[in-house]
């Protein structure tokens, strides 16, 4: 599967491991709950580890561990749940997170300009046509009133 990362189409190299599935080698993301329960195993994992966040997860709960986390996926269950926007802002603006933040799930390609401004730099989608829209819509505005992350 391809994703958009830093305004380029690239191949996705990560795999999400459900809470009840066994870990596999390679680059994986897990839920925050699993990270908190199996932290030791995950730090020792053979491959990179990332987190898949729900909108209700608190960024503060893993902020001290950010050096161990190489990807944060913001999983939109509902495009109108704006908490994910604040999660991204906090990761970048408060905790100085430098690795990838990826929007996944049911966000809208119409939202990517805002997402990019709060620090999201990658976008996954089931539909390949959506990826074209993402690339296009990242350029919706050339001006802005507020300071932004990038």
């Amino acid at each position: 599967m391809q994703i958009i990362k830093d305004k380029q189409r690239v191949d996705n190299t990560w795999q999400f491991i459900a809470d009840d599935a066994a870990l596999i080698a390679g680059d994986i993301t897990v839920s925050l709950a699993r990270w908190q329960q199996n932290r030791a195993d995950l730090v020792a994992h053979n491959g990179k580890v990332g987190l898949r966040l729900k909108a209700s997860d608190s960024v503060e709960d893993f902020a001290e561990d950010l050096t161990n986390i190489k990807l944060v996926e913001l999983d939109f269950a509902d495009f109108s749940d704006g908490r994910s926007f604040s999660q991204a802002w906090l990761l970048r603006g408060r905790f100085d997170y430098k690795d990838e933040i990826r929007a996944i799930g049911r966000y809208l390609p119409e939202q990517v300009f805002y997402l990019s401004r709060v620090g999201v730099n990658a976008y996954a989608s089931e539909k390949t046509t959506d990826l074209d829209a993402v690339l296009n819509n990242l350029n919706d505005f050339t001006v802005k009133y507020q300071s932004s992350i990038i």
């Binding site: 704006g82 908490r83 805002y114 709060v118 505005f141 050339t142 001006v143 009133y145 507020q146």
Partner: protein
């Protein structure tokens, strides 16, 4: 008035292009109903009973004559020759075609207007005092701060998908004319002991289903911290506001459920991270103040004597002056209300012909500027006393000089059953009936200051809960009934009206209102206003008479 920079213009042009694409994609079936709904709301488009409704932003109520002519043009070309001024200083069109909305927005953009964030669960148009900059009781002009907030709230990337809508109002005067205590955030400009201007910050006020009076979260906020403090409140609200129930999603419920003290702690902890990084510079504030510098007032304006003569010789003119003008800080100038409450017009409505004429009057007599008020009227803020007589004649010829500002027939009224799919009951028709019952101007003037607010359902678009008399449409087994409240106020002495008793039927509501007024006239003390009388007497004397025959 604020004039757009090149970047401001680019931003609204790019927004028009974005919405055009979204609308095209919707018609192509690429955006679902739900997805497009969220996007169109953020561009001011509701779908109501008959047609879409387009709500255009009137930034803190200021509109130029050029913009008014554009509104007239849109009313003529895309609508049924009229538009509607709302209680939040915005302008609504009731009949545009959805597929033409992008085109209308492109037209508006040519005169620095837009409909961005006038609906939807995002930060809405910032409202303010309609007498800003000319009021005699002003501490500081709120408009520069309103513009700073307007820019900060516009297309804010983090706070466009809030739990619910979010409204900010700013008052710079001793008397609150902007209903700030009924906003999600209310800001009062105040001075500290050193004479510096800062903000008293209220949070968690709101109307609608659960009316709540805002509470003071910060008695004095330094001016330089304005935006960082707003950001802290918005982030806490965005993260912790309820999203499970839309009737409990406003910040007022978060503040209530968390408790003001705990909520304040959360905001202060967030703010501690932000305050030093995002200061508003004095230069930036000065730059905006320059946009709102006073116009070139005529220093000899108060030497005119014709005005006093007309006043003596023409009773109708004198009556209009007494009721439809407000004092101005510059001697020889007056702020003139344009009443949009003529007896035979729905409250707040204005035709294309009237709009064009108002633009001409503003150009000739008030520096080309028009303002919208909270009570759905307009204002010419800077009329010379020598011109008052001519302005009155011109407004009277347009049926825009009904001398009823702040009086019984200056009602606020929502569209109700006539246009709104959420309505339980009609409101425009009832307003008309009350108007007809109160057709004696001397009686209306004798009753004096009175705010009657009427909404067709408990969403409360017409602020019935803060009306001195509030009327709320309710549904009783498919019939239209009306719940009356007394004693509400959105001014300094903010209060939520008390229920009079059971709802009354449609054919009894007008009688109930006239009965309430009779009780007031019979029981009032000298110089006592309706609201003061209700506060002194309580609701019982009114209740006894209204329900006497049932």
């Amino acid at each position: 008035m604020y004039q757009y920079t090149e970047n401001d213009q680019i931003l609204i042009d790019e927004r028009v292009a974005q919405f055009k694409r979204q609308t095209e994609n919707y018609f192509k079936g690429e955006l679902s109903e739900d997805e497009y709904r969220a996007l169109r709301l953020r561009n001011g488009v509701y779908i109501q009973t008959h047609a879409p409704l387009l709500r255009v932003a009137g930034p803190y109520g200021l509109i130029s004559s050029k913009q008014v002519r554009k509104l007239a043009h849109i009313a003529r070309t895309y609508d049924k020759n009229y538009c509607h001024f709302t209680t939040r200083q915005n302008i609504q069109f009731n009949w545009p075609k959805l597929e033409l909305v992008p085109e209308i927005l492109a037209e508006l953009a040519t005169v620095q207007m837009h409909a961005i964030q006038t609906s939807g669960n995002c930060m809405r148009n910032t409202t303010s005092d309609h007498l800003a900059g000319v009021a005699v009781d002003e501490i500081a002009d709120p408009r520069p701060y309103c513009e700073i907030i307007r820019q900060w709230t516009t297309l804010h990337p983090e706070f466009d998908y809030l739990p619910r809508k979010f409204k900010i109002a700013v008052s710079g005067a001793l008397n609150d004319r902007a209903a700030t205590q009924f906003h999600d955030i209310g800001l009062h400009l105040v001075k500290n002991d050193a004479g510096e201007v800062g903000f008293k910050v209220f949070v968690g006020g709101g109307l609608g289903r659960t009316p709540i009076i805002g509470q003071v979260i910060k008695p004095y906020l330094e001016q330089k911290h304005l935006l960082s403090y707003l950001e802290a409140i918005l982030r806490i609200y965005n993260l912790f506001g309820r999203r499970d129930n839309k009737y409990k999603a406003r910040i007022k419920i978060l503040v209530k459920e968390t408790g003001l003290e705990e909520f304040t702690k959360l905001v202060d902890a967030e703010w501690a991270h932000l305050r030093d990084a995002n200061e508003l510079s004095a230069e930036r504030v000065d730059e905006l103040k320059a946009h709102f510098a006073s116009p070139a007032y005529d220093v000899t304006a108060d030497t005119d004597t014709s005005f006093a003569e007309h006043k003596v010789n023409n009773k109708a003119f004198a009556t209009w002056l007494a009721h439809n003008t407000a004092a101005h800080k510059v001697s020889g100038y007056t702020a003139v209300f344009i009443s949009l409450k003529a007896p035979d017009m729905p409250p707040g409505d204005i035709t294309d012909v009237q709009l064009d004429a108002v633009a001409d009057i503003a150009d000739a007599y008030s520096f080309g500027e028009i303002r919208a008020t909270h009570r759905q009227n307009l204002i010419l803020a800077d009329v010379k006393q020598a011109d008052l007589y001519t302005v009155w004649q011109k407004l009277a010829a347009l049926e825009l000089a009904t001398p009823n500002i702040g009086k019984a027939t200056d009602m606020i009224c929502c569209p109700g059953l006539d246009f709104c799919s959420l309505a339980n009951a009609g409101s425009i028709g009832v307003a008309k009936e009350i108007n007809e019952a109160l057709d004696d101007l001397d009686y209306i003037h004798d009753i004096g200051e009175l705010k009657i607010n009427m909404s067709g359902c408990m969403n409360g678009c017409a602020h019935q809960s803060v009306g001195h008399i509030g009327i709320l449409g309710v549904d009783k087994k498919g019939a239209e009934w009306y719940q009356i409240t007394l004693g509400g106020s959105s001014e300094n002495n903010a209060a939520i009206g008390e229920r009079l008793g059971p709802a009354v039927a449609k054919d009894e509501i007008t009688k109930a209102i006239t009965t309430i007024l009779d009780v007031y006239v019979k029981n009032r003390l000298e110089e006592e206003t309706f609201l003061e009388a209700v506060n002194r007497l309580g609701i019982n004397p009114f209740k006894e008479q209204v329900y006497a025959n049932n």
